[in-house]
Amino acid sequence: MKKRLLLTVLAGLLALPLLIGQAHAQVRIGLMAPLTGSWASEGQAMKQIVDLLAEELNNAGGVLGQKVEIVAEDDAGDPRTAALASQRLSTRGIVAVIGTYGSSITEASQNIYDENKIVQVATGSTAIRLSEKGLRYFFRTSPRDDEQGLVAANTLKDMGYGKVAILHDNTTYAKGLADEAQTLLKDSDVEIVFFDALTPGERDYSAILSQLRARAPEVVLFTGYFPEAGLLLRQKKGMGWDVPFVGGDATNNPDLVSIAGKDAAEGFMFLSPPVPQDLDSPEATSFMTAYRAKYNDDPASVWAVLAGDAFNVIVAAIQGSGSTEPDKIAEYLRTGLTDFEGLTGTIAFDDKGDRVGELYRVYKVDGEGRFILQP
């Protein structure tokens, strides 16, 4: 009798961790983000948004009756650190990973996740080649550079411009976008009167502007980043030239207006995926309410919001496929997920894992320096 009691107690003690484990069974989702380094502001915002969404989900009961736990690793915006971060994450029992920002950083982690059979949903990586490798578990909520080129070309055509000048800055992103737009515009009989690159990091672009003005374009497409765009606008205004400028998504930064000055920035247009504060879908609205309540601010960058979208589609895939197996999640993302309402609009993925549909919108800077979404 005594022996039997002892055995029962022992068995109970042995089973206890199992029981506790059962009660705390969790779905672990990884987040790889630049929490330090030069893109730290992006990474911190990504984490804030994913944390907020996970908290909301857990309060509502989690997924498949289990709580979701976010496991974050810092990739420091550096390919080598990203390779380490993805290896560490791969050993921590995650079913899928969100991230990261920057194409070359994402590239460093892609094969590691693929070999470990972990679904990866990238958020701020727009390089075309990332999804051309045929990796089964790779998806992204951010658009591709060629889509932006297409939208840029279409926007300029729709506005009825016949003579276009294209200026880039020789970075992979800017050059790729400029090439893409040039090819598409040439096909549609738009005359490219200028195609060349400036050197980023300088202060005086008046020599370039003088040369541009001599070619008399009706519009200038600048595909580089916001610091140069701000200076170009300011110096263009200084020389009394009022040609319209159109920029790519790398000019979507409020600092553009402070560099150029409100009067010089007014009328500048750029292409960018929309931020949720500009969308009136119920998903975007309720997200904004929750975000403002928790962080007392607006999310500054669209790339961080795309991390929230990545979280949402992963949860939807787990829910929809009723499983946490990578093959089922990937299969569901590819075929089962249609017209999913995300924070940045409707989400679905094609065979390569790229986001389907036109995501880019046109923004215009108004007299107060605000970015206004164009209808």
């Binding site: 050197t199 005086d204 020599a207 370039i208 003088s210 020389m239 560099i259």
Partner: protein, 301 residues
Amino acid sequence: MQLFLEQLTNGLAVGGIYALIALGYTMVYGVLKLINFAHGDLFTIGAFLGLTLLLSLGLTDHIGPVAGIIVLTLMVMGLVALIGALLERTAYRPLRTSPRLSAVVSALGASIFFQNAIMLIYGARFRVYPHDLLPTTSISLFGVDIPVMRIVLFAASLVMMAGLYYFVQRTKTGTAIRAAAIDQGAAKLMGIDVNRVIMYVFLIGPALGGAAGMMVGLYYGQINFTMGWVYGLKAFTAAILGGIGNIPGAMLGGLLLGVIEAMGATYISLAWKDAISFMVLILILIFRPTGILGERVADKV
């Protein structure tokens, strides 16, 4: 023709800034045979100090923009000169008898230190000078519209350069600097306090570089902690182009480099602008190894 004239003025305006910074490189090299790699960062410090003083003192409101900016520029020059002298005292003087390479490494270290210090104090984001400070009117000359401020900027850099030239050629201290540049040992024997001369050099060069930083900030608006790198490199090139160690050479080299860049960008290729500038530099060094106005250095070696 109009484009040519326009690019000429663009090139001269940028070249004036290059020349001001180049003077700092060339003076230090003339006396110490040292390339002061931290000089570009002193230029950045000038830009940031200028902004800080401008925003915190409110001088332009009290005594008007013109007087305010002149006073602020003088303050910036003074402060950056002090930092320059401090740099010499801590990073270069202890190494003066060491092999020359040690001082070069020390200069690189100082540059990294300054850059990180500026980033930690002011942050990594772009900072912007107030927009409404300077008038934006232009005047028309030979069919070319030139912003008035650009002429003022160019004139200011010419005045500073002329002042330096007068100082070095006509004053006693200037003569001592020139003497120390030719032969430090002999200068010492003639009763010149070489340490003092070097201190002067490290006051004047950084003061001009700091003024250039403030001018760039005022005119172009946007500043950040890495801005000294591009300007420093260009000014260093200008100093070599004109003949390093030679003061009129640095002025000529700076103006020339600005014009070459503008013309190269216009008539050859925009993307190749920098490559063209450096090609010209290489060509000049092949055919005239001492730079355009450089003297023969055989007797120094």
